[in-house]
């Protein structure tokens, strides 16, 4: 197998427009979820069995009193060695050889959801309360195996998200981090060797989201 595919998410370019979030819902035919105003633009507040992509909004003040407002377009990282697959018995999950995408099937209704969630460093899987089927981002498996980019990547107006061969994405990540470091010394690509969805952040990952860099 070649090195498969990767998605690069450079949050320094993200404007928090949430086009990716809507594109994900639209392509996957997922309904809106009833939510409440929580005082942030982040909505829905978290993943669900009907929400595979959430742009997380984090704001606060640095030690020097300077305010920050970070956007983090959170999604499944499609790990190189997915811990959620470790307990899989049969056909409940697919780790596709050609692309590297980790895809859950309806067979996950028989999986131990609590276990899958607890081993995920990024707090990704969610369960349908009625059918017990587990859901998360599929890397748009149907699209990428038909020559189309994932819906979220296609929609990104600023080029914060890029999809392509893993080698090329790793090289692009290095190139972008080198450039960003000049302005933001903390710029880094999060766990680039372990995951296929590589986030580039310009600040302490914990400031974006609790699980931005994994547990």
């Amino acid at each position: 197998m070649a090195d498969g595919k990767s998605i690069l998410v450079d949050v320094s370019r993200c404007t928090g427009c949430r086009g990716c979030q809507v594109a994900c819902k639209q392509w996957n035919g997922l309904p809106g979820t009833r939510t409440k105003q929580t005082g942030t633009y982040q909505n829905p507040p978290d993943f669900s069995h009907q929400t595979f992509k959430v742009v997380r909004f984090a704001d606060g003040k640095d030690k020097d009193g300077k305010p920050y407002w970070h956007f983090f377009s959170d999604m499944c990282r499609h790990c190189m060695n997915p811990p959620c697959l470790a307990g899989a018995q049969g056909d409940e999950m697919i780790h596709d050889e050609a692309t590297g995408a980790v895809v859950y099937t309806e067979g996950t209704s028989k999986s131990d959801f609590e276990m899958s969630l607890s081993v995920c460093p990024y707090d990704i899987p969610r369960q349908d309360p009625d059918t017990k089927v587990m859901y998360k981002c599929t890397m748009c498996f149907d699209r990428i195996t038909s020559g189309l980019p994932p819906a979220c990547v296609l929609s990104c107006p600023t080029g914060a998200m890029v999809f392509g061969e893993r080698d090329a994405m790793l090289a692009e990540a290095r190139r972008r981090v080198d450039i960003l470091k000049k302005t933001w010394p903390k710029a880094q690509a999060l766990n680039a060797d372990d995951v296929r969805v590589i986030f580039i952040v310009t600040d302490d990952p914990l400031k974006y989201h609790k699980y931005a860099a994994g547990v």
Binding site: G19, V22, A23, K25, D142, S146, A151, S155, P157
Partner: protein, 193 residues
Amino acid sequence: MRRRQFLKMSCVLGAGVALCGLGVDLVPIEAWAEEIKKIDRLKSARQTTSVCCYCSVGCGLICATDEKTGKIINIEGDPEHPVSEGSLCAKGAGMFQTTEANEHRLTKVLYRAPNSDRWEEKSWDWAIDRIARLMKEERDKSFITRNAAGQVVNRLETLAHMGSSNLDNEECWSITAWARSLGLVYIDHQARV
């Protein structure tokens, strides 16, 4: 034959031909559409390019129309479009919701009376007559021809127009022109909200 009649006629003809081609019973077609995966239907769908209606950026869209049902099954960014290269913001990315596939779209006029807590279904004729009546009464009563300095201003300060974020660029233009022609000065829409 006027153009509208011709269009109506050709629609009827078109629908007739489509029905003959597919057989009268439409149920199997719907079943077909349900069974086949979206990506496979997309591959055989007719693709039509369009432009996002919302803002003046003018991002490109591809509308995919199912070859058998004749319904739009997907709308996404057009990667070959010189302006947007396939990208869409949250509004454009949700364009598919403006199609008839969206079950939440209103198809009837809903009216909530003052102080009422419920919506009532009304006809378009009733709603348009009522809006026109209230607007005319208010305009006749409060129209300002001249300001305190005696200058001609021809404005109406007691009515405001609030548009919708689902209005497209051209609709916004027409509504603004219409509202100004009545003398309205408070004109806004909630796209920023």
